[in-house]
């Protein structure tokens, strides 16, 4: 698996992914795309966890990733449920339409 030369730049990939997710989170207005960008950020964190876990020889990081995936699924389920309700309210999912918290 890991030869004498460990590959040290997976965290560059993860940082890139996280940065892209964050950028999308900031500049996109569609609520669903924003949620997708959130997923990207979570995955970047997962990648780092897996990398560190394999590099330090401890399986804890991998188990953490299993839990993160579960919680991410939960987050998406609730998040998209909220988006559906927002759509019912205003017939749009543009986040700018929901500046005020009053229905």
């Amino acid at each position: 698996m890991m030869e004498a030369q460990p590959i040290y730049w997976t965290h560059y990939v993860a940082t890139c992914l996280f940065a892209l997710g964050l950028l999308g989170f900031l500049i996109r207005k569609n609520a669903i795309t924003v949620l997708m960008c959130l997923e990207l950020m979570l995955n970047a964190a997962n990648l780092i966890l897996v990398e560190l876990s394999m590099r330090t020889g401890t399986p804890d990081g991998i188990i953490m990733v299993v839990f993160v995936i579960t919680v991410a699924a939960a987050e998406v389920a609730v998040g998209l449920g909220i988006v559906l309700n927002l759509y019912r309210l205003k017939e749009t999912v543009e986040l700018d339409a929901f500046k005020s918290l009053q229905g």
């Binding site: 997923e39 991998i62 995936i69």
Partner: protein, 171 residues
């Protein structure tokens, strides 16, 4: 050879992630998300975490993105592409902020001392993970089941079928 594959999948993942962020149409975003998760799963497998790689496809690509696609299709968001992007100033400021943030992250990663593996994880670590999950991580696991139960109730509360939904096509 191996490095080549690594570089390829890394670049592929990042390119697909770029697609998620830049695509105007949410359907294309979801499609790019699928591709990017594929690349990630390949990276996991190359690191030796085959179990995670498979779970990634099974849960993320096979279920979570399905949910995204379902919602995009349910709400009919893909056909009328409304291009309400932020002003250039906002985009630039966000980009610069993200740039600095990622520099900070990289600096942290590069300066974290790593303990060298006393016994590196074996190729087939699936069994080890399974054992740990049910011994050392038993309590998180059980708490997770309560969490999921709460989630089911929450989901029902969120998407209770409304009598007021008139305009909907009944399947």
């Amino acid at each position: 050879m191996k490095e080549l594959f690594f570089i390829f999948f890394s670049l592929y993942t990042i390119a697909a992630a770029l697609g998620v962020v830049l695509a105007k149409n949410p359907v294309y975003s979801a499609f790019s998300l699928i591709l990017s998760f594929f690349g990630l799963s390949a990276l996991y497998v190359m690191w030796g975490a085959t179990f995670i790689g498979m779970i990634q496809i099974l849960v993320y690509t096979g279920a979570i993105v399905v949910l995204f696609v379902f919602v995009v299709m349910l709400l009919d968001l893909g056909s009328v592409v409304t291009d309400h992007s932020h002003s250039w100033l906002t985009v630039m400021v966000s980009a610069i902020a993200v740039w600095f943030f990622s520099l900070l992250m990289l600096r942290t990663f590069n300066h974290t001392p790593l303990v060298a593996p006393a016994t590196p994880l074996a190729e087939s670590n699936t069994r080890l993970i399974s054992q740990l999950l049910f011994t050392e991580y038993l309590w998180p696991f059980e708490i997770l089941s309560i969490f999921l139960l709460a989630l089911i109730i929450a989901i029902y509360a969120l998407t209770r079928p409304d009598a007021a939904d008139k305009r909907k096509v009944h399947p």
